[in-house]
Symmetry: C2
Subunit: 345 residues, 2 copies
Amino acid sequence: MSDGQKFTDVNTYGEFGLIDHLTNSFTNLHENTIKGVGDDAAVIKNVKDYTVLTTDMLVEGIHFDLMYSPLKHLGYKAVVVNLSDVYAMNVRPSHITVSIALSSKYSVEALEELYDGIQAACSMYKVDLVGGDTTSSPRGMAISVTALGTTQNFESITFRSGARKGDIICVTGNLGASYLGLQLLEREKQLYLSDPNIQPELDQHSYLLERQLKPEANKRAIDYFEKVNLVPTSMIDLSDGLSSDLLHICKRSEVGAYIEEGKIPMMEEVKKVALEFNMDPISCALNGGEDYELLFTIDQSKIEKIRFMPDMHIIGEIVDASDGTTLHTTGGNIHRLTAQGWHHF
Amino acid sequence: MSDGQKFTDVNTYGEFGLIDHLTNSFTNLHENTIKGVGDDAAVIKNVKDYTVLTTDMLVEGIHFDLMYSPLKHLGYKAVVVNLSDVYAMNVRPSHITVSIALSSKYSVEALEELYDGIQAACSMYKVDLVGGDTTSSPRGMAISVTALGTTQNFESITFRSGARKGDIICVTGNLGASYLGLQLLEREKQLYLSDPNIQPELDQHSYLLERQLKPEANKRAIDYFEKVNLVPTSMIDLSDGLSSDLLHICKRSEVGAYIEEGKIPMMEEVKKVALEFNMDPISCALNGGEDYELLFTIDQSKIEKIRFMPDMHIIGEIVDASDGTTLHTTGGNIHRLTAQGWHHF
């Protein structure tokens, strides 16, 4: 918080006035939101048959650093990472609740920024904020979001457990950018801490930074599946890293998989910046995490349906569990994949 | 954690193995829980028309102190305070998600205790744990629970906003015990910190302590309403204190209220211990909070229906908003009620 910025103490409003203040500019987009914020609980009319429910918590010092995470982006990201989990079930999210614990060093203005980001995500993804809790914390901030979506059609829900031998493995977008965005931010932070007069050099890396600070969930893929009438056999969102998330599918589906190094989508910028950090670009793609792209499998006979799917890449095939889960390198070697994704402890 | 206790590092299992380990003894009680823990999201079949959704976060150092909160009780309480919000809508809870952030100082055994309490609450209140997140925190613990319940009948959902002039104000159970339980625990903690050889003297106050450490949600009241076919005009659960929570009803219903001091239910033990702390017992009942009893209003014409309701007390009446929200003391004075409940900032 720079000098001269307005600082309104959160106690000005009291806990309840504060929630009202922060949420009164939110409008509900879903007709079935009967009661949103403001009672013991929200009420949602069930117009569809199945509810999909997920929750995720972001903790300061673990999942974000307020030295370089703008609060608005943080609010946006906290919502998006949850919506991504609903999309990964092949379902559109409709409602969220948000709980925030924060210390008294944060002003009402800081909370307003955070809620601006939450509102931007609600508007972008057409979800209604229907509840939450704003409470204090002795130090640091934690944001817990629960997201809910519904569908009429049980057969269209995509679990991690449905991959079968011979299925094609596909991934959307490109990988590794978010992780390298984080490395850039960490590097600039260290430089800044050593000499606050150094200006950050981040402008030429805006794509990588945006992937880290303000990721998007892939709702276009879900729209596409509906359009071509395709249900993937399994799907997961890439939060922990391709390697770890593919292993989740393999474990739940009781299968193995191989993926080809040369097919893994990466931006040129990812390759360039990885080398700056003396990192192997493929490791960033495999283990970086926080890509929020979708990893899915489809039956080989359905391949025609995805031939024209935008920004989608076929990277491998499901095999027998006994064949393990492996990476075929461009050099012709075979490596066993291990879960090296986010270790939060 | 005392010496000699088993300490298994949480990294032993990895994030995903850990969730499996902690939740594999949970069994789903609801047939409509199609998919619980273990995918991007849970799937619940909607067999009833309306979903009620609430969320709450408990933060170490604000809402609980691990010096005197056994982890099992803490897990139980984190669930119960959310279920209480669903009951306060006159709806039975059915599903929960639980997110926990904790530092690496906690062992797997500690988490197991916490989940034992979560499981005990799930079993007691017949709710299914269908998702969650276990992540780390630089220090301290935070538990965020989301609870969901469903009902067929919209007319039976009880909001804060339905109280009308002339309605009778009722409260279940007794008030102030949880707050005094907290005072006792704080006093013993200070004594212990000043001299660790002092043995705590808490045995004779087990009721007050249990109300603080392991509160229950009032599902019996909801069963009773159904049995006698009564829908309260408004209802709220007493988490912030009678005074603050009555003001919520008055604000949302755009009415005033008076309650009579002499009618507010308090245990003899509450009166006795309050005096030990030089506190006014009525202040403990009005402003203590965390009672998790139900405060509700009913139409005067329905009074016969609650005449035999167990453990229920008529404490006042709804009046015009212009008459304010007041306490009539046994001495014949009238005090305006103010929100002096929990201040979390």
